[in-house]
């Protein structure tokens, strides 16, 4: 019977009333929960829970950090702080390289602009001397 189409062409779904009831219940539950998480009491409770966790876990965290630091020192290995400081310095270097890269781009653009600009007929662009264009020979070391 459930397979038979209804008058408007849709199949009867025996679960539909259950689904509708479920949705109604979830709506009501959702609204109650939204009101709850919006309350001062909820903010206070979650804050207290987080604070307790931080307070309880802090001594363990510090102990592990100290033990790790000592172990690394004894093994002549860089500590976490050392590695982090290198990473920070790398970012600074990267930034300076980026600035240099931008300046080079700018210079290149200006050169292209100068080269591409129409020149007056009398003025000749300076040609690089052949001497300068030749590759420098490797310096003699005296060794044979």
């Amino acid at each position: 019977m459930a397979e038979d189409p209804t008058q408007d062409g849709k199949r009867l779904d025996p679960m539909e009333p259950w689904r509708a009831a479920r949705d109604l219940y979830m709506d009501a539950w959702g609204k109650t929960m939204v009101d709850m998480v919006n309350s001062e009491a909820y903010a206070q409770a979650t804050g207290a829970m987080l604070d307790s966790y931080m307070t309880v876990s802090a001594p363990f965290r510090e102990a592990v950090e100290k033990a790790m630091l000592k172990t690394l020192e004894q093994m002549a290995m860089p500590s976490r702080a050392d590695v982090l400081s290198i990473a920070e310095r790398m970012t600074n270097i990267e930034m300076r390289l980026d600035d240099l890269d931008a300046k080079l781009d700018n210079i290149q653009r200006l050169i292209v602009k100068v080269d591409g600009a129409p020149r007056p007929q009398s003025a000749k662009a300076p040609q690089p001397s052949r001497k300068k264009m030749t590759k420098a020979k490797p310096a003699k070391t005296g060794k044979k």
């Binding site: 959702g30 919006n38 903010a43 206070q44 979650t46 804050g47 987080l50 980026d98 600035d99």
Partner: protein, 355 residues
């Protein structure tokens, strides 16, 4: 015949549904498929340029830079083929760039809004200008990305920013009663320094919990019930799968930024009051002159409209528009109605201002 049996047999059908459910909940969908090239990097940040689909003469000359939030992946803007804001805008002829902030590591725990807006963004924009060969550009900031773009526009807006689009921008924090996050992070209950001393960066899982806990039943129960109810609809399952992939891909927030967000913005509302200092420079919203489009999601429970509206009266832009659209914080750009309402409106507004 065997196939017909398989589809009508209720046990097999139930098994297939469970398999689909399991796949959608436990695997990663294929997302962010629009071709792009990496054109610039700095630390974890990457600037991508999407491969244009129209010839240069058919494209808008002013490039558009997309800046998403710091604690989520930006591929929500390019979620899946056939339903991607990036794809849509490329087809409309935009030269499109995306700034991906990446995942901050422990070494980035001191990064602040100052660094993102004065070190990263100007350099990425400099590269964008060099590649596009145009000195003007448009900026689209979404969520925390809208805070970054607003700060940038106020401090460096005179460096070629023509159009500014703010999506669900949390800028005004004065209405504490409407802001659940403000209540949770009130200094009486939440010790931000203690949390950051323990974690360095704010863990993505904690941010994710905070966002989901605003509507716990919808996010932790209703979301999965909705999937089960539509398990026989492949298009719906595909969309759910892609969104779930994005939602579960959490990124930590750099400790310095998190502290500024909580103390300077949620608690002290410094941006709207004109008291926010970025490397000693006061962020004055009245210094924003770019054409401004602010998009507000009417059903946004993360950034209620009262956080985005007041910026309209603070800026000096003569060309400004406030656009309200039905939907939630993410839904207005990635939901099923996005391609009908939000994207065409953004394109319509931006196209005439990108000539």
């Amino acid at each position: 015949m065997a196939e017909a049996m398989a589809t009508t047999d209720p046990v097999t059908a139930a098994a297939e549904r469970l398999q689909t459910l399991n796949k959608a909940m436990t695997t990663k969908a294929v997302i962010a498929q629009t071709p792009k090239e990496l054109v610039w990097t700095l630390n974890k940040a990457k600037l991508y340029r999407y491969v244009p689909v129209l010839r240069k003469e058919k494209r808008h000359p002013i490039p558009l830079l997309l800046v998403f939030a710091l604690m989520n992946r930006p591929y929500i803007l390019d979620l899946r083929r056939g339903h991607s804001f990036v794809e849509y805008m490329l087809n409309k002829g935009y030269d499109l760039y995306l700034l991906d902030w990446g995942v901050p590591g422990p070494e980035d725990k001191n990064l602040r809004f100052d660094d993102y807006t004065l070190d990263y963004m100007p350099r990425a924009i400099r590269k964008l200008k060099a590649i596009s060969g145009v000195q003007e550009f448009s900026l689209l900031g979404w969520c925390i990305g809208a805070i970054l773009t607003t700060i940038y526009a106020a401090l460096r807006g005179d460096e070629g920013l023509r159009n500014l689009i703010l999506l669900t921008a949390p800028l005004d924090f004065s209405n504490k009663q409407s802001l659940t996050f403000a209540r949770w992070t009130d200094e009486r209950y939440f010790d931000v320094d203690k949390v950051l001393a323990a974690f360095g960066n704010m863990p993505g899982e904690m941010i994710d919990y905070g966002a989901k806990a605003l509507k716990p039943v919808e996010n932790y129960v209703g979301n999965y019930v909705k999937l089960w109810d539509n398990i026989d609809d492949p298009r719906m399952v595909e969309g759910w799968h892609a969104m779930n992939t994005w939602v579960t891909d959490n990124v930590p927030l750099a400790g310095g930024v998190f502290r500024q967000l909580i103390v300077d913005l949620y608690r002290d509302d410094k941006l709207m009051r004109g008291e926010l200092l970025i490397r000693g420079e006061r962020v004055e919203l009245s210094r924003i002159h770019a054409n401004l489009l602010t998009v507000i999601a009417e059903g946004d429970h993360i950034t209620p409209s009262c956080q985005s509206e007041p910026v309209m009266s603070k800026v000096s832009s003569t060309d400004k528009e406030l656009f309200r659209v039905k939907g939630g914080h993410i839904g207005i750009m990635a939901g099923s109605g996005a391609s009908k309402y939000t994207w065409p409106h953004i394109d319509g507004w931006l196209a005439s201002r990108s000539q």
